[in-house]
């Protein structure tokens, strides 16, 4: 049972990690929280639904299109909900992104109705045994893809010139400007990458579960919690936070009570904030 709980936790956790990466990237570079992250996750899965299921576009193309459209949404959020408020109070962009999330959820509900849909084309397949636990092909692919995305993001940030520019902007945007980095472009790119990650996570989640217009709310909260738990602004922290929350909530549901499944994540966050408010891997002096 324990192994199955942990596997269930890793599957959920890998998706939380990807959403958390989006939060942490944007926070790292713009020092702002983009609360529409969860809704982009939902938007990505519905885009895939619109192409692959409704219009029978090839799944790979649908996937690319959906991720591309998610990135566009990220750019639009940057342009209309973040940039005009860049110099306003720190709360302003936070509230404007909450506005975007309400809009996205309402818009998709308007188009597709409130009921669940599925991205799976065929029947549900039984999983195969892995020691004393069961895991499905889809889930293995999800975990594998999540790891590729995480490693890819890490390499992008550490091995490319673009990555260096992102890290410089995150470190100190004024210095970045003085050395000739176009920080506006960098911020745009980071919003797009974060949104693309969320969209990709949403599609994967859609294969593992059902999709519905409200699916982003919980995913967004869990991702945000994971990002804060790991130390917001820290990439590896976000991944760690995602897995910790995924595993902890499944162990909590398994051994304590399933009614407290969602609560477990927030209890962990609460304890973390009490004793180590910068998160597991957060920098000592987080600028606020």
């Amino acid at each position: 049972m324990l192994l199955q709980f942990i596997i269930n936790g890793i599957i959920a956790g890998s998706l939380y990690s990807i959403v958390a990466l989006g939060y942490t990237l944007i926070y790292g570079i713009a020092r702002r929280i983009n609360f529409a992250q969860g809704e982009i996750y939902m938007f990505g899965s519905f885009c895939f639904f619109a192409f692959a299921v409704e219009r029978s576009v090839h799944p790979i193309f649908s996937c690319i299109l959906a991720i591309f459209l998610s990135a566009i949404i990220g750019l639009l959020i940057e342009r209309f909900a973040y940039r005009p408020l860049q110099n306003a109070s720190r709360l302003a962009p936070l509230i404007s992104t909450i506005g975007v999330s309400i809009f996205l959820q309402g818009f998709i509900t308007f188009l597709y109705g409130p009921n669940s849909k599925t991205l799976r084309q065929g029947e549900v397949e039984a999983g195969f045994d892995f020691f004393s636990a069961t895991i499905t092909k889809t889930q293995i692919v999800i975990i594998f893809l999540c790891i590729i995305l995480m490693v890819g993001l890490h390499l992008l940030l550490h091995l490319t010139k673009f990555g260096k520019a992102v890290r410089t902007t995150a470190e100190d945007s004024e210095i970045a400007i003085t050395v000739g980095i176009n920080t506006t472009r960098i911020i745009q790119a980071v919003f797009a990458i974060s949104a693309a990650l969320a969209g990709a996570a949403g599609i994967m989640a859609g294969f593992n579960n059902t999709i519905e217009p409200t699916m982003g709310t919980v995913a967004g909260f869990k991702g945000f919690t994971a990002a804060v738990l790991g130390g917001i602004g820290n990439i590896i922290g976000a991944v760690l936070g995602g897995f910790i929350i995924g595993i902890a909530e499944n162990l909590g549901a398994g051994y304590i009570s399933s009614e407290y499944k969602d609560t477990v994540a927030f209890i962990i966050l609460f304890i973390m904030l009490l004793f180590r408010s910068r998160g597991i891997l957060g920098k000592k002096a987080v600028r606020l």
Binding site: F5, T118, V124, T134, N209, M215, S258, K261
Partner: protein, 381 residues
């Protein structure tokens, strides 16, 4: 000072007007009833269906000369599924319009909210479709059976199939808890054991850990009082995890989306639903409904229609239009054959005579299940 006089004047004028209005009510010979329900907002579809059903009933009554020679008139109040609005509407209907009978509410939370107002005003409150177990004993009459009736049938079904040990995964709300408690009580009193019952949030879509527990706990069946959007992932994930125990469903399975999404994973699921209205009276009603509103009549509309007709029956019996007299006459109604089913009230005002049937999903469709007699009456345990 000037302002005060003006305010006073306005109050006096308003007071005079309201006297006039109340006077109008007394002058008109129409028999007035109230209706409270969501006519706009998220639950509007339910409220409007009932309103349409009520309109057909009123039309029929009035074209036949009304009740005891008095035409019937319904005052419709929109609650928007908001308890505060429902209470205000109830106060208006009892205080200003002085109706003896109110039809409503729709969602159980609002029915519970307005029940005390109805009781204080000694007005009959008859809810066409609220089904929460919590309403039992609050003085509300209803056309639809309480959830625990459905649970008692499901428990009997489980026992008849020879199940001894069961697990439950439910949605932690009024409905899910009502069914779970009802099922537990009935199943254990019939000699069974419920090994575990896991409550979940309505937004839960990942049930793998709960299902893992079920898989390891060596039970004969799993009962799932979950809303359709949660039931689908349970079916899918049960299959993925290789869970082989039979799953018992609720009336949520009459929602066609479950089979559409879960496909083969829903195959063979047995569930209990209130018998869908059928027979000649329902066909006649459907035809009238379709002619008037050009859409198909559903259970909610039939329940609205029946609510008016049952009250008519009670008034004729009571030979009075006082709330208390109508109330005591309602208890004497036995096996009234309504459009939505047979109606008999117990001491709590719960309908005990509605029939249930067990269904099984076969080739993507719910068909009558022959594991137990196809229809049974619920018991009020």
């Amino acid at each position: 000072m000037k302002l005060r006089y003006r305010t006073l004047n306005i109050i006096i004028i308003l007071a005079l007007f309201s006297i006039l209005l109340v006077g109008c009510g007394k002058l008109s010979k129409n028999l007035k009833f109230g209706f409270i329900g969501p006519l706009t907002g998220p639950a509007a579809a339910w409220g409007i269906a009932q309103k349409n059903g009520i309109e057909i009933a009123v039309e029929e009554l009035n074209s036949a000369g009304g009740i005891n020679g008095r035409k019937v008139e319904i005052i419709y109040e929109d609650s928007q599924m908001d308890s505060n609005k429902a209470i205000l509407a109830m106060k208006k209907l009892t205080g200003v319009d002085k109706v003896p009978v109110v039809f409503g509410e729709t969602a159980s939370a609002q029915t519970l909210a307005i029940a005390p107002v109805a009781n204080t005003a000694k007005v009959v409150l008859l809810s066409p479709i609220s089904s929460s177990t919590a309403i039992t004993g609050t003085g509300v009459f209803r056309i639809s059976p309480a959830d625990n009736f459905q649970a008692s049938i499901a428990a009997k079904l489980a026992v008849n199939k020879g199940y001894k040990r069961g697990a439950i995964i439910y949605t932690n709300d009024e409905w899910g808890k009502g069914l779970t408690d009802g099922f537990k009580k009935n199943f254990t009193s019939l000699g069974g054991t419920i090994v575990s019952s896991d409550g979940t949030e309505g937004s839960t879509r990942d049930f793998r850990t709960q299902l893992t527990k079920v898989r390891e706990s060596n039970v004969d069946f799993l009962y799932i009082p979950l809303h359709p959007d949660s039931a689908v992932p349970v079916l899918q994930q049960a299959k993925e995890l290789g869970l082989t125990v039979p799953i018992l469903g609720t009336d949520a399975f009459s929602e066609p989306t479950i089979v559409q999404i879960a496909k083969k994973a829903a195959e063979g699921i047995v569930y209990v639903v209130a018998k869908s209205p059928s027979g000649k009276s329902f066909e006649d009603f459907s035809k009238k409904y379709h002619d008037k509103f050009s859409e198909a009549a559903n259970y909610n509309a039939a329940a609205g229609y029946d609510a008016v007709m049952v009250i008519t029956e009670a008034i004729k019996k009571a030979k009075s239009i006082k709330g208390e007299d109508i109330k005591s006459a309602l208890y004497t109604i036995k096996d009234y054959s309504g459009v939505s089913g047979v109606i008999t009230f117990d001491a709590n005002g719960d309908v005990t005579s509605k029939e249930f049937e067990s269904m099984v999903i076969k080739d993507g469709k719910g068909v009558s299940y022959s594991g137990i007699p196809s229809s049974q009456k619920g018991s009020a345990k």
